[in-house]
Every structure is written in structure tokens, then in C-alpha cells.
């Protein structure tokens, strides 16, 4: 039972990690809460659904297409909403509220197009899982874990090794100084939105292999992504990875004793405890919850 809960926690956590990583990549360059990130995640799942089920494209190809399109959605949101706000040097809260607006708009657009009912991408039969130290893990779940780990590793290498990744870190540290040495922050922000949103899209696609999809799925995802980012240490990439796994495991261990409906409650209680007692998160970043 215990091993099973840990495994479930790691699987749920690996999805949170992807959402939190995408959120973090964007947060590092723009320094505001991109709440609409959640709806990009939902859009990723729905686009994958359209390609696989409605158009009959091979699942693997359609997943890559969907992740790419999710990246493009991220760029469109940035260009249409955030860029004008950035030009006017709007305060963070205005960005957050506008982001809520985008979230509500796109979520209901999805509902208008696809209907409010749940849809499912899985067409292949459900196979019995592998037994592993008294716990069961299915092939799909192994795929989710592997894909998530690969994306984490890929992002890590990208940020550490490539020129664009280095430029992104420079902008994250100090946007003005980065501009002085000839890095165009707008280009970096564009890249951050593309990469971050593609990660969210990928997370949405992966979760749709395991569960049903519905228009409201983005809300839960972004809340968990934000919580994972804050408890890991906002703006920190290892922090987002650690926070996501921590949250996934904590939630699943929590429902060991109480019913599953309390999951969200557990997550937010953890968040509030962190905000109050360790606002810098586990990684202890300085820019965490500002205190008076």
C-alpha cells in the first residue's frame, strides 16, 4: 500500500513537475504569475485529442504537433496580452488579473468547442500493470515517468549548455544588465513562453493518456504548478522539479488516511504553511513571498 502511494505520488508529481517547470521558465524572465499557463495545459490535451481522434493522426506525431501548438498559444497570449502591459510597465497584479481573464476566456472557448463533457484519447485496451515491490504500475504510467524525466533532463541541458539557455539565465538574473550586454529581452521572453507553454502542453498530453480530459482541467494543473513552484522556491528550476515531486507524494500520502476529495485542501495547506514559514521555498530563493 505504502509503495503504491509513493508510486502514485511520483506519477502525479511528474506531471506537476512539468507544469511547474513551464511556469518557472516563464516566471524567471517576466517575474509575474502566468496563471493562464493552466489553460495552455488543457489546450495541449484538447489539441492532441483533435489530432488523434478527430483527424486520425498517429498518436506520437499528434503529440509532438500538440506540444508545438501549445508553445504557439503561449506566444500568442504573450503578444496579445502581456506585451502591451509590459510596454506600459503595468504592476504585477494587473498581469495576474489579465492572466485570470485569459484563463477564463480560453477555458470557456474549449468548452464551447468541445462541450463540457469528459473526453478520452485512449483507444488502446487497458493492460494489466507490472508488479513492482507490491505495487502496480502500468505501461502508460512508465511512459509518463520516462517522458517527464526526459523533458526535465532536456530542459536542464538546454538551460545549462546552449547559448539561448545562458541568455535566458542572464535575463532571469538581471533583465537590464542582460540588455546592456546585447541580449534582446523580448526575444528571450518569446523563447521562454514558447518553451514553457510547450512543456505545459506536453504535461496535458501525458495526463490525457492516463485520465479523461475536460475543459476545467487547467485550473487544478496551474494551482498545483504554482504551489509546486512556491514550495520548491519560486523561479528555481531544480526547485520546481523537487516541489512537484514533493507535492505529488505529500498529496497521495495524505489521502492514505482521509478521503481523496481532500487532495486540493492538502495542497493549499502545504502552500500556506510554506508561504508563512518558509516563503523562499525549499531551495530558499530570496525573491519568494515578500514579507512586510
Amino acid at each position: 500500500m505504502f509503495t503504491q502511494l509513493i508510486i502514485n505520488g511520483v506519477i502525479a508529481g511528474s506531471i506537476y513537475v512539468l507544469v511547474a517547470l513551464g511556469f518557472t521558465v516563464i516566471y524567471r524572465t517576466v517575474k509575474f504569475f502566468h496563471f493562464a499557463h493552466g489553460v495552455v495545459y488543457a489546450a495541449g490535451a484538447y489539441i492532441a485529442y483533435t489530432f488523434t481522434i478527430s483527424l486520425g493522426v498517429h498518436p506520437i506525431i499528434s503529440f509532438f504537433l500538440a506540444a508545438a501548438l501549445a508553445g504557439i498559444i503561449g506566444i500568442i497570449i504573450d503578444r496579445l496580452v502581456y506585451k502591451p502591459l509590459r510596454k506600459r510597465k503595468a504592476p504585477n497584479l494587473v498581469f495576474l488579473i489579465a492572466s485570470f481573464g485569459v484563463f477564463i476566456f480560453v477555458q470557456n472557448l474549449l468548452q464551447l468547442i468541445y462541450g463540457a463533457q469528459i473526453l478520452t484519447i485512449r483507444t488502446w485496451p487497458v493492460k494489466e500493470g507490472h508488479h513492482f515491490f507490491g505495487a502496480v504500475i502500468t505501461d502508460t504510467q512508465i511512459l509518463i515517468l520516462a517522458a517527464s524525466a526526459a523533458l526535465c533532463l532536456g530542459l536542464w541541458l538546454f538551460v545549462k549548455k546552449t547559448k539561448l539557455g545562458k541568455a535566458m539565465r542572464a535575463v532571469a538574473d538581471d533583465r537590464i544588465a542582460a540588455n546592456v550586454v546585447g541580449i534582446n529581452p523580448e526575444r528571450i521572453i518569446l523563447a521562454a513562453f514558447a518553451i514553457g507553454s510547450a512543456l505545459a502542453g506536453a504535461a496535458g498530453i501525458l495526463i490525457s493518456l492516463e485520465t479523461n480530459i475536460e475543459p476545467t482541467m487547467g485550473m487544478n494543473a496551474i494551482l498545483k504548478g504554482i504551489i509546486a513552484s512556491i514550495i520548491g522556491g519560486i523561479g528555481s528550476i531544480p526547485g520546481a522539479m523537487f516541489g512537484g515531486l514533493f507535492l505529488g507524494i505529500a498529496e497521495n500520502l495524505g489521502i492514505w488516511k482521509i478521503s481523496a476529495g481532500w487532495k486540493d485542501c492538502i495542497a493549499f495547506v502545504i502552500l500556506i504553511v510554506f508561504l508563512l514559514f518558509r516563503p523562499g521555498g525549499i531551495m530558499g530563493v530570496k525573491s519568494g513571498g515578500e514579507r512586510l
Partner: protein
């Protein structure tokens, strides 16, 4: 006619919610995104007292508002140590927690099944059942809320609130107890939200957690921002337009599977356009910093 009166009653309830949230958001500059939590607690407390103990809705209303105010202290005191975005996320989180308690504490709240058969108000032994009677009742509470909040914001206390909004550190330097003021504001806001929740419960006679989601909190925030931050007439305008306007969609003969998301899409779009073009709202004087 009945329908129009019903819409007006709902508008009145939203005006109470918008006025009380405006005190927090517009006058004190606190980004509180969990306002529906307070009306949820008020509604449930009042309904449960009436259903389980047969108490008069009038007592329930008062108790509900007080319970909401106490919740205001509990949510306010810890979250006020945070600022800006973080306060927004923390209050949003408390909204999720309260919603999730209402949904999962089945033995008390009956969870998603909701509480049916909540008794209505009665005056001198006379049961209020007509919609127009409720309209008068709600109108009285709207005026009462407006009166109290106007007195609060125009008092020296209100001046300190605006001081906190404009420059918190300067207010501290002037020797004002910023945290105490913030908590009092939270309590007043929560109290009136509790009244609104209780009125709603006894008017509709049925509540379930889906009436108090976090989206509801965002809708109330939209009403505040749309009408005008830090403007009491703005709260009337904001709540009235945003309740009545989407009702017009009904007359276009749209099925509810189209009208419901369309209405939300308009809300979302409105939030974006407001933030881009006029972040202080129609009648507002204050912008977020």
C-alpha cells in the same frame, strides 16, 4: 415580471458582495481573491442553523455573518504577512480550501448534494414568499451595507486605509498599525459577504458548494474592477451591469450549453480589456501598483 424581480434580487446580493470586496481591494489595496469563501461560510452557517436547530433565519443571518467575520480573522491574519501576487495566491488558496471543505465534509454539509429546503425569512410571523418582498429585504441590506462602508471609508479610519493603499511603509512610519487595520478591513468585508451568502441561501432555499467556487470570487473581483476600484457608486454599476447584461444572452435564444461558456468568455475578455485599457475601472480612481 417575476423574472425581472428575481434578477434584481440577485443584483442586490452581488452589490453587497462587490461593496464589501471593494473595501478590501479598492480602498485598502489588498488583492483578496477568495471573497466567495466568506459568503459560502455565511450561507452554510445560516442554513444549517435553520435546518438543524429550527432557528429563525434572522438569527442565522447574524450568526452566519459573525462566523464569516471570524473566518476573516483566520484567513486575514496569516495572509496579511504577504503582499501583492503572493497575497492573491494565498487568498485564492483559502477560497479553494473553504470550497473543498463544503464539498467534502459530507456529514455536515451533505457535500455536492447541497442543502435543500432552507426556510425563508419571516417578518412578524408573516412568511416572506413573494419575490418583491425579498427585493425590499435585499434593498434594505444593500442600503445598510452601503451606509456602513461609506461611513468606514469616509472616516479617519478610511483615510488610514487609503494611506496603506498608497504607501504602506509611509503609513507605518506615521505610526499606524498597518496589520491591525488590514485585519479589521478583512473582518468587515467578510461580515458583509457572510450577510450576502445568508440572504442568498434563504432566498434561493437551496445551496450547494458549486455556488461558491473560486470562479465566483473572480467574478466578484471583476465587478469591483469593472465598476471602479475605490468607488462605491462603481460597485453598484459594476455588479448591476455584470449581472444583468449576461441575462440578455438568454433572450437571444441560445441554448444554455452555448450561453454559459459565452457568458464566461465575455467576463474573461472584459478582464483582459480592462487591464489593458482601464485598470481602474469605469468610475475608479485607484490603480494597482
Amino acid at each position: 415580471m417575476e423574472y425581472i424581480l428575481h434578477i434584481l434580487v440577485i443584483t442586490g446580493i452581488y452589490i453587497i458582495l462587490t461593496l464589501s470586496l471593494n473595501l478590501l481591494v479598492g480602498y485598502t489595496g489588498l488583492a483578496a481573491l477568495g471573497h466567495a469563501a466568506f459568503s459560502c461560510v455565511g450561507a452554510y452557517a445560516s442554513s444549517l442553523l435553520a435546518l438543524n436547530y429550527g432557528l429563525s433565519p434572522w438569527i442565522g443571518l447574524l450568526v452566519g455573518a459573525c462566523v464569516a467575520a471570524i473566518l476573516g480573522v483566520f484567513i486575514g491574519a496569516p495572509s496579511l504577512r504577504l503582499k501583492g501576487d503572493y497575497l492573491a495566491i494565498a487568498t485564492f488558496g483559502s477560497g479553494v480550501i473553504v470550497y473543498s471543505v463544503a464539498k467534502n465534509w459530507v456529514s455536515v454539509t451533505r457535500g455536492p448534494m447541497g442543502l435543500p429546503g432552507i426556510p425563508g425569512f419571516s417578518v412578524f410571523g408573516l412568511q416572506l414568499s413573494e419575490v418583491w418582498a425579498y427585493l425590499i429585504l435585499v434593498a434594505i441590506f444593500v442600503l445598510l451595507t452601503h451606509f456602513v462602508i461609506r461611513r468606514v471609508v469616509n472616516s479617519p479610519f478610511g483615510r488610514i486605509l487609503r494611506g496603506i493603499r498608497e504607501d504602506e511603509i509611509a503609513s507605518l512610519a506615521m505610526g499606524k498599525d498597518v496589520n491591525k487595520h488590514k485585519i479589521i478591513v478583512f473582518v468587515i468585508g467578510a461580515f458583509f459577504a457572510g450577510i450576502a451568502g445568508s440572504l442568498y441561501a434563504h432566498y434561493i432555499t437551496f445551496i450547494d458548494p458549486s455556488s461558491f467556487t473560486v470562479m465566483e470570487s473572480i467574478t466578484i473581483l471583476l465587478m469591483v474592477v469593472f465598476g471602479g476600484m475605490g468607488s462605491l457608486p462603481g460597485s453598484f454599476v459594476g455588479a448591476a451591469i455584470l449581472v444583468i447584461f449576461p441575462e440578455l444572452l438568454r433572450f437571444l435564444g441560445m441554448p444554455s450549453s452555448v450561453a454559459a461558456p459565452l457568458r464566461q468568455m465575455i467576463y474573461g475578455l472584459l478582464l483582459i480589456v480592462l487591464m489593458l485599457k482601464r485598470p481602474q475601472g469605469i468610475l475608479g480612481k485607484y490603480r494597482w501598483k
